[in-house]
Amino acid sequence: MTKTVTDVICPFCGTLCDDLEVVVSDDGKKLLEVYNACVIGTEKFLHSQSKDRVTRPRLHQPDGTWKEISYDDAVEYTAQMLAKAKKPLMYGWSSTNCEAQSVGNEIAEMSRACCDNTAAVCHGTTLIAVQDIGIPSCTLGEIKNRADRIIFWGCNPAHAHPRHMSRYSIFPRGFFTGKGQMSRKMVVVDPRVTDTAKMADVHLQIEQGRDYELLNALRVALNNEWLPDVVAGISKEKIREVADMMKSGRFGIIFFGMGVTQSLSKNHNIDEAIALTKHLNEFTKFSIMPMRGHYNVTGSGEVFAWQFGFPYSVDLTRGFARYNPGDSSSVDLLIRGEVDAMFTIGSDPGAHFPISAVKQIANVPSVCIDPHLTPTSGVSKLHVPVAFNGVETGGNCYRMDNVPIDCRKVVEPPEGMLTDEQFLIKVRDRLKQLKGVA
């Protein structure tokens, strides 16, 4: 016999879908099928069951082989590494729960580390812009029930947040949006004709990197003032059409992604997008929301901000929290060679940092805490596999609209495996002994 667990939370993207159904074996040890999830979420649940999974910590040997060690030895290695380091970098946190992040922050404080989450290569520039000028935002539930103008700017939810459009933004029939997608106008701004753009009422195929100009031109069009014939590759007629479409809605939302945060003007693009949202509120109700990537990157920002006062790029080396992106941010710290130990958890900088930064990870003592084999584990000295958060252990996570949702445990981890939180608690306790902290 099998049993079905309902209302399971998907630990992949910031949409944090909460309607999955997972079929598990009667003894709760095997995960058999996944319903309602997107193709990526399904793969995440099913991969936890793979036969070739690494279940014990491993030390990297000079000849490229791996030596299996116990969790206690791994705790000792990690605590010693952090105790000896002058400026360790503790990076990641976005694929684990808030409870583990909080324990991690205790460790960071004791070891006077630099702490950063994956916002560093995702929505870090958004956080800078929000600190600059604030953010008029809302929840995804409000969008489902009210929004009739949906703008996707530099994001491609058809690929990156596969169920976002069906659960919240385009298709659902909400309280005031009873006709589903018929009651909404969809605008996509992207230099490629993405699969999201193909569904849009209007696609603005912008010249790559010209987002600031186009956002600014839309504000000019809102005021009915003079525009050049073409801005960022878009004709002025088209810009006025989109500005009128935005103004004529009852409730609009701008979702934005890596297209604006990673292009050259970075935080200034988002400054302007937020200013456009503010401007639109002179005509109708408008909100703006970043399309957060990892399922708990928002939670990591919340926990950092709650405990240290800043959402990412926190430097504790002086014994108190400092925040100065460009100086205290992971990529810059690594490229400048300032870090003397690397602690990675719940993310993969090896694959997603520029290679010049990854080379520094390989140069220093390093621990990678991750259930998967990754490029980061491949260049780290110690790889500690842990239980999959959201599959084999529960815990608190934050959706992209800052709504906290408790993840559910659906299946037992392989025998003897620790969760992130259990491993971090052991490291914290050992570090306390080493540092002589009561």
């Binding site: 193709v39 990526i40 058809a158 935080n267 460009g326």
Partner: protein, 132 residues
């Protein structure tokens, strides 16, 4: 052999998302992210068949990937490598004091490299870092 200049961006594709959850040590990750999506007109200028291996070079490095015809085009002059170690070998790492590397908008040169092969993800990073 012809060489073309294009503007490179990187980002998520659903195939890349499935591959990272399926295991980055597997060849499926290379199939999903060790590619460069080019516009048909750029492929023609390059004089390459679809699915030819190419070397992509920027000011920051070079990498061998498989050139495929874009599925989300047309976008002449623009090239797309899904996020991952292949893209990150050549993107602009400068953060300009924001903490964020410039993952989108790196000018690159593409040339046919038919006899070279595309490395696996972990293999590529280990080789670049001089780790076995």
């Amino acid at each position: 052999m012809a060489t073309i200049q294009v503007n490179l961006i990187s980002g998520r594709s659903v195939q890349q998302g499935v591959a990272i959850e399926g295991g980055k040590e597997k060849p499926a990750y290379r199939t999903a992210a060790g590619i460069i999506e080019l516009d048909p007109s750029d492929l023609k200028k390059l004089g390459a068949w679809k699915s030819t291996n190419v070397r992509v070079t920027s000011d920051y490095g070079n990498v061998v990937v498989k050139a495929i015809e874009t599925t989300q085009g047309p976008h002449p002059g623009l090239a797309f490598i899904p996020m991952g170690p292949w893209a990150n070998t050549i993107i602009n790492p400068n953060t300009y004091s924001t903490g964020m590397p410039t993952f989108k908008g790196t000018p690159v040169k593409v040339e046919v490299a038919m006899n070279e092969h595309v490395l696996l993800g972990i293999e590529l990073v280990q080789k670049s870092c001089g780790v076995k």
